[in-house]
């Protein structure tokens, strides 16, 4: 710990029960200790930002949360009950949806076919079940309208959408299929300014529906724009959790970089990093 009094583990006033609570998660890959005791929780309707520099363990941690990795040690509570995810399918059916950095979208396919990929609605005709394209198209158009994206039509290929719109489609899809927790892995890292604000607005909209959002980023500005709480990871450990308004961008930046080196760098660059 840094001794910074603004940091504390968890929220002392924690009246609302978290959807997911992960305590002292450790993950070892052979001799490499990727996570050395990380604690993290997400409450309904909040956006909890997970910050950290490259190699801090962000990806390993969210993979543990989404069932890809099983923790070496530590406990996971889902809606108050101890939980163990054997594989991603377990986590998905419990309501943990991940929107990957590498999007689960296929550019050549239409928006509506992408939206329902793996969860196609069907309609029985003479005992044979067919893909219910009409329903899929209607739902897709409706959900996209709610997210503020005006499609030319449900048959428009995903390849014609911008990066931000693709993120939004992926988020809308996760929400539509009943996600309780939405994990967004660096959703803004490859986007321009305007597209980034679109995605951040989408996050805000999702949060208002009572879904817990985990927003992974190494961009402090983006995190501060929507985050309710901020947890910083460094070298496989949580440096602490701070609530909105309790911490300044400079302090977050310092924590992410491990303090020292960046302070020097910042000095030479005139405080522009």
């Amino acid at each position: 710990m840094t001794g910074n009094s603004k940091f504390h583990h968890g929220d002392p006033k924690g009246a609302v029960q978290p959807i997911i609570e992960m305590k002292n998660i450790e993950k070892h890959f052979g001799r490499v200790i990727a996570l050395a005791g990380v604690s993290f929780d997400v409450k309904p309707g909040e956006c909890h930002c997970l910050l950290g520099d490259n190699g801090a363990g962000k990806s390993t941690f969210i993979k543990t949360m989404s069932g890809v990795h099983q923790p070496t040690a530590g406990e996971i509570f889902f809606e108050g009950k101890p939980m163990h995810f054997d594989d991603p399918r377990d986590a998905i059916s419990a309501g943990i949806a991940t929107v990957h950095q590498h999007l689960a979208m296929i550019p050549l396919m239409s928006v509506s076919r992408n939206f329902f990929m793996g969860n196609e609605p069907t309609r029985k005709v003479a005992g044979i079940s067919f893909f219910d394209k009409k329903r899929a198209d209607e739902v897709t158009m409706e959900e996209m309208r709610k997210m503020g994206i005006n499609l030319r039509g449900p048959d428009q290929a995903v390849g014609t959408l911008s990066g931000g719109e693709r993120q939004t489609v992926a988020i809308a899809r996760a929400v539509h299929f009943g996600a309780k927790i939405l994990i967004l892995d660096e959703p803004t890292s490859a986007l321009g300014v305007r597209q980034t604000s679109n995605v951040l607005a989408t996050i805000d909209r999702v949060r208002k529906q009572g879904i817990g959002v985990v927003f992974i980023s190494h961009n402090v500005r983006h995190a501060l724009a929507v985050g309710d709480r901020f947890t910083v990871l460094n070298r496989g450990q949580t440096l602490g959790t701070a609530a909105r308004g309790e911490i300044s961008p400079e302090e977050l930046q310092d924590l992410m970089a491990g303090g020292q080196e960046l302070a020097q760098l910042e000095g030479s660059l005139g405080g522009t990093v």
Binding site: R89, I92, T98, H100, H102, L103, A104, M105, I106, P107, L108, M109, R113, F116, M117, G118, N119, E120, T122, S129, F130, F131, K133, R145, G148, I149, N150, R152, A157, G159, T160, S197, N198, L200, A201, D204, R205, A225, V226
Partner: protein, 374 residues
Amino acid sequence: MSNATQPTAKPDERVKEISAFRNALIRPELGGIVGTVAVFTFFLLFAFDSGMFNSQGIMNWSVVSAQFMIIAVGACLLMIAGEFDLSVGSMIGFAGMMIAIFSVTYGWPVWAAIIVTFVLCTAIGALNGWIVIRTGLPSFIVTLAFLFILRGFTIFLPQVIERKTIIGGILDVAEGDWLAPVFGGTIFKGLFVWLGEAGLIATFERGTKQGQPVVDGIPMLIIWAIALIIFGHVLLTKTKFGNWIFAAGGDAEAARNSGVPVNRVKILMFMFTAFCATVFAVCQVMEFGSAGADRGLLKEFEAIIAVVIGGALLTGGYGSVLGAALGALIFGVVQQGLFFAGVESSLFRVFLGVILLGAVILNTYIRRIITGER
């Protein structure tokens, strides 16, 4: 933050409206439709008097086209699922030889020989798929290996068992069999007799068959082709599984992340391709009455060319069964049409190369329109 963007989006002023014409261009079948119209126009103008468009002529190129269609449907679905099968031609030879060996040499009933061959060949298709999935090798290499393995067995087995490379006499043993006519028979014979009597189609003018129509019915080969096209088209565009085929070929990793059973889809498509090759082989064996070790040579490439003319992308994730069927039709009409028109048959290969190149260039252009990339 939420007021950074308008919650109700208005149409983006920087996206041009797409005209209906340009929209119509974005169809995988476009190349196939254009090609079909062009090819028929050409032969109607230059080979109309050659007999290409009387009942016999039509039957002639229809049968050849139907053969291409049968293997093109399988190759098309597999290509959309993101894989190739180069062993189709060898599979045709192998399947035909197995039927001949089982029924003629071993004296099994023909129906049993056909069923066992279907099981054996789809199992080999599954093996192809399983190796591709398990090793992660390109299907190009794995099925190239099977091209040689199956062709080798097709030449080796009859030599060891019968001391020859062609096994005949299948029609004799198929006499009275219930399953053989499903592949080798003709239907709607009554209709054709009636058409002949009504003077609408040609009839024999003398000999023992005097008065009977020259074309006596629709061969089952054509029925199989139509049935497979309808099945493939409905499967691809109207079912959940069809969406999985597109997804598996478009981006296997993204599809897996969304819960699509990509491995199962791909293996099933390898099996379906093998099934189509076996249908082709059984029809051919029942037509010729024999199985030869060189049957089906180069068919894998012809199937792939028909599929590509039909608008499918070699990289997977995009294509159409109807397009592939049109590609096969173009193929059959040109191959037989050049013969009717009295053109040197070697020019057919020149045509093939040219049309393949044209189709691929057109497809690349269409894909750019769809994905908006430059």
